[in-house]
């Protein structure tokens, strides 16, 4: 078997005295999509945010492509530029157009030439069907469009791995579909993705694995179909009955 793209070893995270992650172990192979499920406060988002070190893990080690990103000497900015992240509230740069949102990091982090960055960004906006909105500011876009721009912005960096932190939770119900469709297309193209979501339909369709996180531990994990149809842990059953 190939070396996994992402390895998490005994990850612990404290906020003050509260232990939010109590020893997480994970291995994620290339071109797989993992869904993280579980009640809020269970540690899903924290786990995701530890992977690009938006949160500092208290202890434990994380490897991407065999490189330890929790090491002291790691180049944090380069490491982050290789991991795409999509946020619940989109977090598009409000003073920039859709296109400029996508080119900013290409210019500043990857030091691309202007034309090259523009071309790359337009290509990404095309992937999310938003070339016609390239020159619009975020305030002129719907929530669904903003989230698709955010996906394009992350994709433009050619990430090895994409992290999605409840990407559809802040959207009106009728806008969720367009974002999920974009994500499914991305999964089909072979992007490695970790998705915190409650969208069971998406999990069933696109995910190859689902993990149930509660109170800082992975309660159980399985293929999404199996996890949803026959959960083994009572807390998983209870959680699924609430959201299905």
């Amino acid at each position: 078997m190939d070396r996994p793209l992402l390895e998490i070893k005994d990850l612990h995270k404290y906020f003050g005295k509260i232990e939010v992650l109590k020893g997480i172990n994970m291995e994620i192979q290339r071109q797989t999509v993992i869904c993280l499920l579980g009640p809020s406060g269970g540690g899903k988002s924290t786990l995701l945010r530890c992977i690009n070190r938006l949160e500092e893990p208290t202890s434990g080690r994380i490897f991407i492509d065999g490189e330890e990103i929790t090491a002291h000497k790691v180049d944090l900015n380069r490491m982050r530029s290789e991991i795409g992240m999509v946020f619940q509230h989109f977090n598009l740069f409000r003073h920039l157009t859709a296109l400029e949102n996508c080119t900013l990091a290409l210019l500043r982090v990857l030091k691309m030439k202007k034309d090259e960055a523009r071309e790359k960004a337009m290509e990404m906006l095309k992937q999310v069907n938003l070339t016609d909105k390239a020159n619009n500011k975020p305030s002129q876009l719907s929530g669904g469009q903003q989230q698709r721009v955010a996906i394009a912005r992350a994709l433009a960096m050619d990430p090895k791995l994409m992290l999605f932190d409840e990407p559809t939770s802040a959207l009106d119900p009728e806008l969720i579909g367009e974002v999920l469709d974009t994500m499914i297309k991305l999964a089909e193209k072979g992007m490695t993705m970790i998705v915190v979501t409650h969208e069971m339909g998406f999990a069933r369709k696109a995910a190859s694995w689902a993990c149930m996180l509660d109170q800082g531990v992975i309660l159980e994990e399985n293929h999404p179909d199996k996890l949803f149809s026959s959960p083994s842990h009572p807390r998983t059953k209870e959680f699924l009955s609430k959201i299905l």
């Binding site: 530029s81 992240m85 977090n91 003073h95 982090v109």
Partner: protein, 222 residues
């Protein structure tokens, strides 16, 4: 009525005092400009340093800001000019005034810029960091361009205050507009030059006051 015109709007005296007032205005203009630049730069630097959230450094900045917002500026002018020589530092009048105005103005500008930076949603910074932007890149490409819009009306307003505060340099006998007007007042034994100085300030600052109004309206729409 005649006495009022003779004492306060005496055209002849205004004409006679025009050279002194002109000299004073030039000093005021220069003092305003130089102090404003220093105060904005120091204020920005302090706000920038404060956003690192180092507890010890931030306590120092808060003490600085509180102290100079509470201290009457006129006392600050006198301390800088009259007290420093006892510590072996003696500054000419002009630079004493610049230092006093900078120390005082920066305390206010720091507060304005900090509020501007804090008004920018944490998510903006996180998105920038997640893309691999360094801290300075995040600041200059993402936070500051957005903060400037928030900050422009109060910063313009504070600039206005600072320019008005330059008249306090008259207490250390710097020949700016106010001091020259006082001199002329004494020399001609007529307060008309004070009115003239007031009119000059009015002509000079009123457009700025209007600008603050325009900026505030514009920002509300954005």
């Amino acid at each position: 009525m005649e006495a009022l015109i003779h004492n306060f709007f005496n055209v002849e005296i205004m004409y006679k005092a025009k050279y002194l007032l002109w000299l004073g205005f030039k000093v005021t203009l220069q003092l305003s400009f130089v102090s404003l630049i220093f105060a904005i730069l120091v204020g920005l630097l302090l706000a920038f340093v404060r956003s690192f959230r180092n507890r010890f450094i931030n306590v120092l900045i808060i003490i600085y800001v509180d102290l100079f917002r509470a201290l009457p500026t006129i006392i600050l002018f006198m301390l800088v000019y009259f007290a420093w020589p006892y510590f072996g530092i003696s500054l000419p009048r002009y630079w004493s005034a610049v230092v006093a105005l900078t120390i005082n103005g920066a305390a206010y500008f720091e507060e304005i810029f900090r509020a501007g930076i804090e008004a920018i949603d944490e998510g903006q910074r996180e998105a920038a960091r997640a893309l691999g932007l360094s801290f300075p890149q995040t600041m200059f490409s993402v936070v500051l361009p957005q903060a400037i819009v928030v900050v422009l009306p109060p910063a313009t307003s504070n600039s206005l205050e600072l320019i008005k505060t330059t008249v306090l340099a008259s207490v250390i006998a710097l020949p700016e507009l106010m001091k020259q007007a006082q001199q002329a007042h004494g020399f001609f034994a007529n307060p008309t030059p004070l009115i003239a100085a007031a009119l000059i300030f009015l002509a000079f600052l009123w457009p700025l006051v209007r600008l603050v109004g325009v900026l505030e309206r514009k920002y509300k729409q954005a």
